[in-house]
Symmetry: C2
Subunit: 431 residues, 2 copies
Amino acid sequence: MRQSQLFTETQREAPKDEKSKNSQLLIRAGFIDKLMAGVYSYLPLGFLVLKKIENIIREEIQKIGGQELFLPALHPKENWLKTSRWQQKEMFKLKSRSGKDCSLGWTHEEIITPLVKKFVKSYKNLPVAVYQIQTKFRDELRAKSGLLRGVEFIMKDLYSFHQDEEDLDKYYEKVKKAYFQIFKRCGLAKQTFLTLASGGTFSKYSHEFQVITPYGEDTIYLCPKCKLAINKEIIKEEKYKCSKCQTKKLEIKRAIEVGNIFKLKDKFSRPFDFTFVNREGKKKLILMGCYGIGLPRLMGAIVEVCHDEKGIIWPREVAPFQVHLIPLAETSSHFAPYPVWPGSVIENTQKVKKISQKLYQDLQEARIEVLYDDREDKTAGEKFADADLIGIPLRIVVSERTLRKNCLELKQREKKEIKLVRINQVKKYVK
Amino acid sequence: MRQSQLFTETQREAPKDEKSKNSQLLIRAGFIDKLMAGVYSYLPLGFLVLKKIENIIREEIQKIGGQELFLPALHPKENWLKTSRWQQKEMFKLKSRSGKDCSLGWTHEEIITPLVKKFVKSYKNLPVAVYQIQTKFRDELRAKSGLLRGVEFIMKDLYSFHQDEEDLDKYYEKVKKAYFQIFKRCGLAKQTFLTLASGGTFSKYSHEFQVITPYGEDTIYLCPKCKLAINKEIIKEEKYKCSKCQTKKLEIKRAIEVGNIFKLKDKFSRPFDFTFVNREGKKKLILMGCYGIGLPRLMGAIVEVCHDEKGIIWPREVAPFQVHLIPLAETSSHFAPYPVWPGSVIENTQKVKKISQKLYQDLQEARIEVLYDDREDKTAGEKFADADLIGIPLRIVVSERTLRKNCLELKQREKKEIKLVRINQVKKYVK
């Protein structure tokens, strides 16, 4: 994409009411805009990142047999009365003109359970795993952490249906692996830890995926040997020790919860009377699992972990573009009102432009996503500052100085070192 | 995809309260499920169609320079007070726990105008075109036409910003062409007509894209010569004649509005005081256009137009799969408890299965989307009835009878004729 076409611009300062690093950087770099507390718009750059994360999740969930569907945000009261969750205080409620009581979904067990029940009658139809990537609403009183705690947010919610605990356990382990794969592809391999959490009424434990970062909202207790953590609730309820090796030498860390997985068992199948006929011809209650990932929160967590004092450093697979191509012209004039002589500023500018254009086309043809900074009213300093703030993994600078040596400057966002690479070698280097 | 894995099943009867052809067929075939009046879930098959339509729209809007973003559904009251549209009776309203008045967006002028204003200051930044594919809410009192009139529905809304009327007019014509291209790719080329509509307060005219079908909710007056239509409102307001050739010989047709385009001019830039500095250094109000397509409505219109008494007939580009591969086994048993002898039922069944499996893999490797009816408890009649109802464009039947001649049966959903094609020729035929 040509940067001159992008309608957003970077901003020097973040709004004063933005206290979190993720929203400060994402707003300044033009990825998001705040509409009200906990409610953000995704601008073109932010939308691209969101789509990257979405596709990683989609690929990994499809690998474990998830079927994608799309459920409504608007729910009838009846469904929520069945599970006695209508009174949930974070749930937005509204009434239609015809007098119907509705709510805005913050989760979808109350919708998916009766829906799958319509089709699944026998053990032959099991297991089933369905998921969606869809907008949720939660009436948060304190939405102050940028993308980490949203009032409106996109979520991947996966629900699985099983004939017995063994099958549920098996699938639960599959989801665990898929989740680690997702967070790894999002650049958080080193920071993400499986964390034992309280399971609520029906299961003893559930699991959270916590990303360690100094500004996390949660506190976890990490066993450095087992690489397993336990959360605050568990610490309160039980003894202070690693759930695996029993050591009491735990490290206290701040962290962000980027995913959670739950064995619901018959918590929802019971109120909806969702039974199936088993191999022996007997009616049994379906057992369920549910598995969530908040996409904005994951995006926010990536930024909390991957940034420096100059801006964001996107991990490759979630970056809005792979390459930031920056021509440095010595003049901002793009037409020549007088004859061009060899070696003149104008001739050099035209050469820089021509080579940049060509490279932009070549890279695009090689299916590499490029943000091409063709803006003519910006200085080199402004372009570099914007590139550092936006955080695309690889910066390629085309300038008259290095063109003399038939070279371009390549710099990885997270490194200090600048490499001089021959023009005809650039494509190979990028791949 | 293996049909045995699909958690939905076809249904013989549509629910009694579904009066429209589109929802009857889509529910029976397992594409959608009704949660409440005007609120539908998209099941795996329906989700695939939705994604196909989404991608067609995305491609065509990107070709005319649209930048994709994603705006919230939850809006603060302040924005709607600015334009005096807070009282709009179809708008859902709600209050947060902290006492904030909000609404659910049924359109996004009130959000996009102040957002683009933050970045666009000069004629140099213009024109700008931004769009999203996002869920809208509308408190409809009569949501009785299946996907044609939703309370919750996904919409593509595009907004354009211009420095003068000439530029707005130019872009408006570009959108017209893009829209025709979208509806053509959705299989509605012959049925879609540009229709002159009333423009509201600020423009004399707007345009609708109407799809002619006997069960349409709208009435349009079509000039058969010019292929242009005018809508009911215009007929009331003005003289009854073609806007181009002035003939009064108009045909009265039932139609579904699948898109509309509006010149908003300064209707929204004025209340939001969205000005820019023009070439002469003077402050001027931005001029806007807005352009909508409801995705579920388009999906519903396709079904209204493309079906027969047996089921849906998906146009190729929006079909959930390109090929429905149907092996016909003479027995439903899939293991052999006794020795297999040549020419036996079991040997033939195994041959049918082996060849189907191979073809399923080959087609997938050739990037052709296949629904593979590997269900073993269904008769040939049931499989054919399901295939006709689901409506995938090409049906390939693998049976012992034609395998003797080294052939498979190919049938296009919309045709009666069945073709015998040699196995090694099938892939070529499909492409």
